[in-house]
Amino acid sequence: MINDIERIAGVLRFATYFRTWPQEDILELAGLCDWVRLDADTAMISSGQPALALYLIVNGHVELSFEDRSGKSGLIDLLGNGQLVGECALVPEGCYAVSVRTLEATTAIRIDGPGFSDFLADHFDCALTMMSAMTERLCQMLRQAEELKCRSAAQRLGIYLLADAVAIDGVYETPLTIEKSALARKLGMTSETISRALKKLVDVGVTQHSNGHIIRIANAEILAEWCGLAGNDGDENAFKTAV
């Protein structure tokens, strides 16, 4: 019979952060973990609180918000399965830099921060892969900041739609799997801006169908060029990271 540690190890080995680790290291890390199940609209971590654990999201969606120096808070991103939050727990006496709240009932793996920090101190190669994965995330944030600086709301929405588009009978369709209000928050816009951006995109062949749940793109190349992605042909990550 599979015990809990083996079950956790089975999930960890598919996470970006740990998938290159040797099996024995994953099992050792699994020994520092617990399952947590949180209801919708529940705080997973809170900004400014002592950082005691990291969380790997196994099933569900959470929103990540950041508090500025004056105490105002704003949404930064929506995260889902396979994402790791709370790396501040790797630093002795660190505090969380962000707040993370569940949007729906969410299952996560809780990794003990001090234990994980000790583990990385003893396993330098594992620490290097963690640094690499964290650096990749920072690069994505850097690209996100660049996109926010350089592109209009309609261009950013266009890129988001291209990223998830599926070819069907010569056109591309993107199913909208999240509410428009959630999409607006993910892209750093208001719902009104999303509506205005969708109207603007009509001029480049983007139309809404099935009560707005399906977005049809008449010509993906024209839309990509309009969004300023010419030169990124074939680079799907350029679309993904652009949002």
Partner: protein, 234 residues
């Protein structure tokens, strides 16, 4: 570009970086023996986006800017480095490619640390991984703040915040309270993600409010007003 070995004073300054202080005296001395100080002129590139990060750096003095160039050749300033600090240590140790170009804005001297020598020493240094992770987490905070500002604040607030932060960061090096040498206006506009037109409009508003003097060189006249502008409801 000229290069030379580190002086004793420079060695002491570099030793203050958390990553290097964690090495301990003997290992640090070994590492310094493999490092050089490079002197770069304005306009030179230290590295370009996509280059494999085979060095980490310590800025002794001078100014650098980190820039991303889009596929269409548009330039976006992501950050200014203006005071003595280590940089590119995490991306280098992670063995990845630099995500930005690093261009010299003001003549500078930089300690260049070979990645391989550093990794070899770190392998034999207990608990040093934590120090690298600390630097990653500091960058994460910087980028979180950056994305937050871009998503949730208005251009005027971002300009006010930038002027305050830049003055704070340059404070130790400037001669007097108002002697901060800000980068060119178009570079600041790029750094905070506003068009040159919006930037000029916002500067006029701040000048009318008595917060700054525009002139050929930006100057803070009333920091309190500027702070209020940075804090205003978004």
């Amino acid at each position: 570009m000229r290069s030379r070995p580190l002086s004793e004073t420079e060695r002491d300054l570099v030793a203050t970086a958390p990553l290097f202080s964690a090495l301990g005296e003997e290992r640090f001395r070994d590492l310094v023996g493999k490092c050089r100080v490079e002197c770069h002129a304005v306009g030179e590139y230290l590295f370009q986006a996509g280059d494999i990060a085979d060095h980490l750096y310590f800025l002794l003095f001078g100014q650098l800017r980190l820039v991303r160039i889009s596929a269409q050749g548009e330039e976006t300033v992501m950050h200014f480095l203006t005071r003595a600090c280590a940089f590119a240590e995490a991306i280098s140790l992670a063995g990845r490619a630099y995500p930005v170009n690093c261009e010299v804005m003001e003549e500078c001297e930089i300690v260049v640390v070979p990645r391989d020598a550093c990794v070899a020493l770190l392998r034999s240094t207990p608990r040093v991984a934590t120090d690298v992770l600390v630097s990653l987490i500091e960058w994460e905070r910087f980028l979180l703040d950056e994305v937050y500002q871009l998503r949730h604040t208005k251009p005027l607030q971002r300009i006010a915040s930038f002027l305050i932060d830049f003055e704070d960061r340059s404070g130790e090096q400037s001669v007097g309270v108002n002697a901060v040498a800000y980068p060119e206006k178009r570079q600041i506009a790029s750094r905070i993600g506003v068009t040159p037109e919006t930037f000029s409009r916002s500067l006029r508003k701040l000048e009318a409010a008595g917060a700054i003097a525009k002139g050929p060189h930006l100057k803070i006249l009333d920091r309190h007003i500027l702070e209020q502008s940075a804090q205003m409801a978004g």
